[in-house]
């Protein structure tokens, strides 16, 4: 399973962090502190996998952002790499040519989309279209609330 997801800028700033197994606040800080230099320090053209303690780190750089996932040693590395790509495509689809600034100013959106894609450290939705649909429905619900209309979530019949 995926243990954590990190989005790091090239300067090592954390843009998003999500934890799927139990880490105390201290441990979280330590993971970030340990993994960041490992990932940022690797020259391009090396493989996207790193041994890290008893886990593996799979990462990929997209423009100025590093997408990092910590997985179990026995997990499939390539499919994790494609989960990262899947996420980037979803972000791209929503923001339209996504860039780091989009993720800085709309960090909550990045979290929402991640939550629709992953749950309990596992991929829950392989369809980009389905995820975008859900996020847009959420936006509508929030928009409605803002306009002070009564919420109209879909009611089950």
């Amino acid at each position: 399973m995926i243990r954590f997801v990190l989005l790091l800028s090239r300067q090592g700033k954390v843009r998003l962090a999500k934890w799927y197994s139990t880490f105390t606040q201290k441990e979280r800080a330590k993971v970030i502190r340990d993994v960041t230099p490992l990932v940022l320090g690797r020259p391009l053209k090396l493989c996207n996998f790193l041994d890290w303690k008893d886990n593996k780190v799979v990462y990929k750089r997209y423009a100025s952002l590093y997408f990092v996932m910590g997985i179990d040693e026995s997990d499939n590395e390539l499919i994790t790499l494609e989960i990262i790509h899947h996420y980037v495509e979803i972000l791209d689809r929503y923001f339209g040519n996504v860039c780091e600034l989009d993720l800085i100013f709309n960090f909550h959106k990045a979290y929402f989309m991640l939550d629709e894609m992953l749950i309990a450290g596992e991929l829950q939705e392989p369809s980009k279209k389905a995820i975008t649909r859900v996020i847009e429905a959420q936006d509508t619900m929030v928009e409605n609330a803002k306009n002070n209309t009564t919420p109209t979530p879909q009611q089950r019949s």
Binding site: H85, H86, S127, A137, Q155
Partner: protein, 985 residues
């Protein structure tokens, strides 16, 4: 962008933060914002929902920047019960990020979560499921939360009326509950649940199906039992994927849901091989198609997804024990991967090849790719190098060992430091396992030791020495090789130690190389060696000297070294030097007693054991290197630490006036102690007189009873039942005339006093300590009217101290007193006070044997600080040492009232500096001091000690002693001492 709701305040805040020039600006801005938010929240009701939401977002952002936003946790949790989706959504998300599952706040919101789960509102259900998956079955909610929610979650999953979007979340949420519940909890019973799973696997929504297969993977990874019936379903899903029967939304770069394929292939690996031949054929056919039919595409993502499936298929083929043909095809494919330039594929090719390398049938096929695997050792990527090393280690066999080990040795010269230790060990293990002949083995090991330097562990050179001395025809060869290495200029400690042993024993087999030359080569390296290596070299010198009895020059040179070390601080080296000097001067005695090592007993490989240890994740520690007397008598100890000198008979050597009565036998102990750094002292020496038997009786059984994990000190209070009661009185009627412990306690806080007294003898002490050293005068007084015979006085060496004991005459005249000086210097922090063993007999046959604690306690090496310490400095330090083992406390209960003045006096007498006025409470007392010790050959070091004694105010019968120092030994010993002294005050 319309769909991005603009929360202007939030956007502005983020812009502000981004505009900050440096961390200080950022902090100021954040603090300002936090202040504002705190005020708003504190103001209570008049805060709009929009604002509340905005503030929580801001808090989240601040949290991501690395600041603490503890006060916001409650605000975030408060949003969860909200009725509006927008607020609920923020609340859930913020809690998922801010809280972790141990957080107390969870308890407060469990009910709201459950309400959302069982509500009819789909959006709310999704939020709640996502959250439960995040923090489920926390210790706060406990098992009840897990089992309570599990039922609701299961209902959502199995209810066909619930929409896909909720059900897939429910499936994965259930997986999370299952994972967290631990193996003993049975949330899902196989007999009932497997029936439901059959239906669930019929699911047509690919998203839900993926979630269900993932859940199944979680279940079978614990136990597949009861779920065997699902196999045909899984194969059918795979078959459908391969025929591309999926909705277009669920293809990924033209591949039918690679995620689902990977999961199915993984689940199948957990089942035993099916006994349905038709099913197995279909499955193997699918695998064959995947492994042989996958083509390399241009698009990297398509390739990755395809290869993810291929690797999973190879793993399954292995698990199914597929035919050699399919496995050979897999090897061929992976071999191709290893030789490509694409690093990910190369890495995974190597990693997966390791698994195949364990199948003997395809070993030959793998060896064909050896060249590209070896080439991967030189890849620029450390991840790849590591995998290549693993693979070479696994694929090595008798046929290719020579070649592979040669490559590994070459690689050792350029390998990263992080890889070296493992590399050295693995190479050594391979050499030991597959060596074609012994000479080759010796060559490999010596090269390893030479090239690896400090990365070669002790075991490596120990086993080299072991092999050389166990095989007679290697003696000359080994000596020759070591000699060559020395001539080439090798300086590594491991090599010098090996050389010391090998040349000492077999140096005479070298034709045309005089021992003097060997001595010269070793002596060049001598000064830079650590003490234990020096010990080995001293033994070698003695033997070299005995090899060439006619070489007066060599003898002189050796004697010069020995005489220098006869006055050396290190007790082991000093003892060796003194004894060897005796032996050099009496070659006839030496010839009788100094012989070569006997061969080692047959036993398992040291190296392999060490490797296993590493695989277990722990470093080998002292546990493994048991003290000498803990091991069985078949020479196990010697194998760990080969002893240079083997004495033929326990016959005493008349010419070795050992400073503390040791005979040569405990060289073994002494050396082992030194080699292991913090090892306990040598076993009780066998005195050079008839008392030996007596000692043997007393000390023989005691150490055997000791727990192996305990401090292996034969004199330790816990280990030796006699130590506290003042020694053993085997058959003698001389008893102490008072309480030995009381005498000792008194001496802990004073410099003069009585250490021991019985009807015939009194021992007094006068001591003076300065920094890490102390001078103690022991007064032995004969109170009787007869001679005290066979007076013996021994301070057993301990690694924490260096002792120098003056000579003690063998008999003491009636009514006479003698003085014996004892110099001590503290080499490291210690837990136990050192011991003094005395024994004497009266003409009438009465005997006395005592093991006394010396009043050399931690406080003796302490000095109070000059002047008062500022309170803030003291308490800052106090707080930095957060808790055990640096800071420990103990409660004392007394029967008599305790006065603060008495404690203060005691503290002062002990040499600690009371700091009046530092502690706000008048009943408490704090003190400070610095403990001083000097590691051999180094500058003295200081350890700051802090003490706090709180006396219970009303009855004054209880007190709490707390000691804080950065050194755990100092903390423990000072605390124990204070507790002892105050209890008896």
């Amino acid at each position: 962008m319309a769909k991005l709701q603009n929360m202007r305040g939030l956007q502005n805040f983020i812009s502000d933060i981004r505009a900050c020039q440096n961390k200080e600006h950022e902090k100021t801005r954040v603090d300002k914002e936090l202040g504002k938010i705190r005020k708003k929240f504190a103001s209570g009701g008049n805060i709009t929902e929009y604002d509340k939401k905005k503030y929580v977002w801001k808090l989240l952002y601040i949290f991501m920047l690395g600041y603490d936003v503890e006060f916001g946790h409650k605000q975030a949790a408060d949003l969860i019960p909200a009725t509006k989706y927008a607020e609920k959504q923020v609340g859930y998300m913020a809690c998922a990020i801010l809280l972790n599952e141990k957080d107390e706040f969870l308890r407060l919101i469990i009910n709201s979560i459950r309400n959302d789960l069982i509500s009819k509102n789909e959006a709310f259900q999704c939020l709640a499921l996502g959250f439960v998956a995040m923090v489920s079955s926390s210790p706060v909610g406990g098992q009840e939360m897990a089992s309570l929610l599990a039922v609701d979650v299961m209902n959502l999953l199995t209810n066909g009326a619930v929409r896909a979007i909720v059900r897939k979340k429910a499936a994965l949420c259930l997986l999370r509950l299952l994972r967290k519940a631990g193996p003993e909890a049975d949330i899902l019973q196989a007999d009932t649940w497997s029936v439901k799973m059959v239906n669930l696997l019929e699911e047509r929504d690919p998203g839900v199906l993926l979630a269900i297969v993932t859940l199944l993977l979680g279940i079978v990874s614990r136990s597949y039992e009861g779920y065997e019936g699902l196999l045909p379903k899984l194969v059918a899903i795979l078959d459908r994927m391969k025929k591309r029967e999926v909705q277009p939304d669920y293809t990924y770069y033209g591949i039918a849901s690679p995620w689902l394929q990977v999961k199915c292939l993984r689940v199948l690996q957990y089942f035993p091989i099916t006994d349905d031949p038709a099913l197995l054929t279909i499955l193997l056919d699918i695998l064959r198609k995947i492994i042989t039919g996958t083509e390399v595409a241009k698009n990297i993502n398509k390739n990755n997804a395809n290869h993810a499936i291929v690797f999973e298929a190879i793993a399954l083929a292995l698990a199914l024990e597929a035919d050699t043909e399919l496995l050979t095809a897999s090897v061929g494919l992976l071999g191709k991967f290893i030789s490509v330039r694409e690093p990910n594929i190369k890495y995974l090719g190597l990693e997966n090849m390791v698994r195949l390398a364990e199948v003997p049938a395809v070993n030959d096929a793998i060896v064909r790719h050896q060249k590209s695997i070896v080439a991967s050792l030189k890849d620029t990527d450390v991840s790849i190098r590591r995998r290549a090393l693993d693979l070479l280690f696994t694929m090595c066999n008798r046929n290719n060992a020579r070649e592979i080990i040669h490559e590994l040795l070459e690689y050792l010269e350029i390998a990263d430091f992080s890889l070296r230790e493992e590399l050295v060990l693995k190479t050594a293990v391979l050499a030991e396992r597959f060596f074609p002949d012994l000479r080759w083995y010796v060559d490999v090991m010596l090269t390893l030791i030479d090239r690896a330097g400090e990365f070669a562990s002790k075991d490596i050179w120990h086993s080299t020495v072991q092999i050389i001395s166990n095989n007679e025809d290697l003696h000359e060869y080994g000596a020759h090789k070591v000699y060559e290495a020395l001539q080439r200029g090798s300086v590594h400690e491991a090599l010098i130690c090996t050389a010391g042993y090998v040349l000492g024993d077999y140096g005479n087999t070298l034709k045309g190389v005089p021992p003097a030359e060997l001595f010269g080569l070793l002596q060049e390296r001598f000064p830079s060696m650590p003490p234990h290596a020096k010990g080995i070299l001293l033994s070698a010198y003695l033997k070299l000297c005995l090899m060439a009895p006619q070489d007066a020059q060599l003898k002189e040179a050796v004697m010069e070294v020995l005489s220098r070390y006869a006055r050396f601080m290190d007790a082991d080296l000093q003892q060796r030097a003194v004894e060897y000097m005796g032996l050099v001067l009496h070659p006839d005695v030496a010839k009788r007693n100094v012989t070569s090592k006997p061969p080692w007993e047959k036993r398992g490989s040291l190296l392999l054991r060490r490797l296993m240890h590493r695989a277990g994740g722990e470093e080998p520690d002292e546990q493994e290197h048991k003290p000498v007397w803990m091991q069985d008598e078949n020479g196990d100890a010697e194998a760990h630490s080969p002893t240079a000198v083997q004495f033929a008979a326990p016959q005493p050597v008349p010419t070795s006036p050992s400073a503390n009565g040791h005979t040569e036998d405990d060289l073994l102990g002494g050396e082992d102690a030194a080699a292991n750094g913090d090892m306990p002292p040598a076993p009780i020496p066998q005195p050079v007189d008839p008392l030996a038997d007596l000692y043997g009786l007393q000390t023989g059984p005691a150490p055997v009873q000791q727990a192996p994990a305990g401090p292996a000190d034969p004199f330790s209070v816990s280990g030796d039942p006699y130590a506290l009661t003042g020694g053993q009185q085997s058959g003698a009627d001389l008893r102490p005339a008072g309480d030995i412990d009381e005498w000792w306690r008194r001496l802990c806080a004073t410099s003069n006093g009585v250490l021991y007294e019985d009807s015939c003898m009194q021992i007094g002490v006068r001591s003076q300590f300065k920094g890490p050293t102390g001078q103690i005068l022991l007064f032995f007084g004969n109170k009787a009217d007869a001679f005290l015979e066979r007076l013996l006085c021994v301070v057993p060496p301990t690694p924490q101290f260096a002792f120098q004991l003056g000579s003690v005459p063998g008999r003491l005249e009636p009514k006479k007193q003698i003085q014996v000086p004892l110099m001590v210097s503290c080499v490291s922090s210690f837990l136990e006070a050192p011991r003094l063993q005395i024994s004497y007999t009266l003409a009438a046959g009465q005997q006395c044997n005592q093991t006394l604690r010396l009043p050399i306690t931690v406080n003796k090496f302490c000095t109070p600080p000059e002047g008062a310490i500022p309170a803030d400095m003291f308490f800052t330090r106090w707080r930095t040492l957060a808790g055990p083992p640096q800071k420990v406390g103990e409660r004392i209960t007394r029967t008599l009232q305790l006065s603060k003045a008495a404690v203060e006096q005691l503290i002062t007498d002990m040499g600690l500096g009371p700091q009046p006025g530092l502690d706000p409470s008048p009943d408490n007392l704090v003190a400070a001091a610095s403990f001083c010790f000097a590691p051999s050959g180094q500058q003295p070091q200081q350890v700051a000690c802090m003490v706090r004694i709180e006396i219970e105010r009303t009855r004054r019968l209880e007190a709490q002693v707390t000691v804080a120092t950065p050194d755990v030994n100092v903390t423990a010993s000072l605390k124990n001492l204070l507790v002892q002294l105050i209890t008896k005050l």
